[in-house]
Symmetry: C2
Subunit: 433 residues, 2 copies
């Protein structure tokens, strides 16, 4: 196992070894992959005392160097987190197999059959933050989808990550999964070498701060899946129901301010401002939210004046920008210009406004009358997510198992040659069953 | 129309203008898009004399500067090419709409409905070679899929491209499509500026030489779809039927040697070498193909000795590398190491060998007993293709309309907030219809 928790100079060699096992991964049966997940769950539960001890050591070290409260909170791995992890694994086992699904079946001509069938992507490099539970989730999602994973966790969680990795790796291999299915790299310097392994790594998923994701995207030719920003909007349309809107905006802003799907900018139709803004201001101010308004907003509520740059800002804090717009199309134009294509919501009682908003807003999530905080793989029923993508290619929005597979075209012939078709002796008949 | 055929310094402004029209494109009805395609077809047919005259001028200029024969052939746009283009447009009109398809529908809880619905990617930059018919095909695929396209054609075809563009643009706008649906840039210097427009361009599709595609990939942070190499293999398994194999390998090698899906390396099971190689050598030699063999191959046929580097080479010529391997797994390992993940074929009468090959070979196309030359959007029944992708994300293999769309998640609520679920007052029930 030592060569999988590699020294910095060995990363490229490690990645090649993982790559060479990745082909085998693509042929593992659903039963074997689910059996491995069950054995992983058992191993974690049976060894919980050792896991908690390692986590205590990480927490003690974190206290010593004065890690901030929120980081300490994410770092903690206790009975509750273990129970969630075991439940997550049970849920994942029960999800349908993302592999070997037939996306297309077409007879091109007599005896010439085309099948488009899902398969794993290959090797996925995941760089994640301080939460040790993320390691379990990512490793299990990759295993369920037949991918090999190379993981780099936060150094604060080093001891917890190491024991979780050892337990997961050991259980997987005992179940019959190839050794390359999971590797752990430990130092921050390893990341730079990972970024150069484009021959061995098919996809990078960086999780963490926006700066970090952008750093990764700029420095590697390996495709990256992630989100660079979460500047989410709510637009209160002319027909907004203010009684519904106030608690919804409060939820979208305050239910978890540090999340990428929290709302950062509120746009208000000029004809709705008088009835929405005063009660909203009272409610949000009572929750500790500071509002920053455009000049027209200040006619209705005593908000702080907003600067233009505030409308591009991801606060991740108890702050909300507010702008009054003259109509639906002005709201759509603002969102497409200032948003980050993550999740944007219209509050309206008008079906045609909702439809227009959903068609024209260019975001992964386009919502009507519900909190932007619903943008999440668990809440979408995906079982779990590897992240939320603000890119448009491959996977968009919360990414679950479906985002971890690709497909191959299988073509079954009986000696068929192209010359027969090019020279008119035969022709295709394209029959889908 | 002048601002769409822009001077070099105007490319970024042009791209922003196209981007701003792209949102509107996402809302065009299927009827309107199909009507525009029909009007484009009519405009091309009605103005064929002017198109042919422009093409004659390009051909005359090409003769003058001594363009090579194959380039001159691709450059020619005549009655036959026009007929193909009109047929292609008619076929495209009859294809099902790639937009507004519901990929997932799920009730998350009472009154909270999630729908995953296809939509255009946005703005696609396509850089293509000297074939003017490619301009028609790409413009029409993008229009059918609701995308805006910025096109850069080969300078040899400048006059033909310009008139084709003017006719397509004019017909599209008359049909009611926003002006930004199609732009043409003309100078090679414009490409460099296009590569920097990551705010406005969502996807680049470079078509042309491998060096060119790699150049684009290395120089832009915009996602690129394309194939970097076509090192395709055929593996003749132990149970190969030599009588079927010889014409099939001949087709895969010689039917069109310059194609990316032509076979470049043949792997032969050691137990099949004696019965396959001598008749194959006679057949291919008669067709002008030179064989380069590994040392063991030379025991069976008088091929030229192959160097190790020959097994990584995309000849695009009448040359074939031949290697004898000891078993199926050695063939699979060779292909995964030396191949380009494009299209690879096994010739076998054994079902389990075929299945193992298809599972373990990591390529967009995994074939049994048919020519690698079938790897093509037309032959797969996609109507047309924008290219063949050797990447694994988003689209793999021949890319038709499906590769030009992405999706949004629409979430319809009635004031739903996340706090109710986070605090246990409500729970999701996840019902798919």
């Amino acid at each position: 196992m030592d060569d999988r928790t590699a020294a910095p100079r060995g990363i490229a060699a490690l990645a090649r070894k993982v790559k060479s096992d990745s082909f085998q991964m693509a042929s593992l049966s659903e039963d074997l992959r689910n059996k491995a997940l069950a054995m992983i769950s058992d191993a974690l539960v049976e060894n919980k005392a050792a896991i908690f001890a390692a986590n205590e050591a990480d927490l003690a070290a974190g206290t010593e160097i004065g890690l901030p409260g929120p980081v300490m909170k994410r770092l903690k791995f206790d009975e509750a987190k273990l129970r969630d992890a075991a439940e997550g694994l049970a849920g994942l086992i029960s999800l349908p197999d993302p592999l070997f699904r037939t996306l297309l079946e077409r007879e091109l001509d007599d005896g010439l059959l085309l099948r488009q069938i899902t398969c794993p992507i290959g090797v996925i490099g995941v760089i994640f933050e301080s939460r040790p539970d993320a390691l379990i989730q990512i490793a299990s999602l990759c295993l369920k989808s037949g991918n090999c994973a190379i993981l780099k966790g936060g150094s604060e969680a080093m001891r917890t990550n190491k024991i979780l990795y050892d337990l997961i790796f050991g259980a997987g291999v005992r179940a019959g999964v190839p050794e390359g299915f999971l590797a752990l790299v430990e130092s921050r310097a390893d990341i730079d070498e990972l970024l150069t392994c484009h021959e061995s790594i098919d996809l990078l998923i960086p999780r963490g701060s926006n700066e970090f994701v952008r750093h990764i995207m700029a420095r590697s030719s390996i495709p990256v899946m992630g989100h660079s920003d979460g500047v989410c909007h709510i637009f209160a349309d002319k027909s907004v129901d203010a009684a519904k809107a106030v608690p919804l905006i409060r939820d979208a802003k305050t239910q978890y301010v540090a999340a990428c799907n929290a709302v950062e900018s509120l746009l208000v139709h000029s004809e709705a401002a008088a009835r929405l803004l005063p009660p909203l201001y009272a409610d949000l101010t009572a929750c500790g939210v500071k509002l920053r308004g455009c000049p027209r907003t200040l006619d209705f509520i005593p908000a702080e004046p907003a600067e233009e740059a505030d409308f591009d800002r991801e606060y991740l804090d108890y702050v909300l920008s507010v702008r009054i717009v003259d109509d639906l199309d002005a709201a759509i134009a603002h969102i497409n210009r200032h948003g980050s294509h993550h999740t944007d919501c219209i509050l309206t009682e008008d079906d045609s406004s909702a439809e227009r908003f959903m068609l024209l807003v260019d975001s992964a999530g386009v919502y009507r009358n519900c909190s932007t905080r619903f943008a999440d793989g668990f809440r979408y029923g995906f079982g779990a997510e590897v992240g939320i993508s603000t890119g448009k290619l491959h996977a968009r929005g919360p990414v679950g198992l479906q985002g971890l597979v690709t497909y191959k075209y299988r073509l079954y012939g009986q000696g068929h040659i192209v010359g027969d078709y090019a020279e008119g002796r035969k022709s295709f008949h394209f029959k889908d069953p």
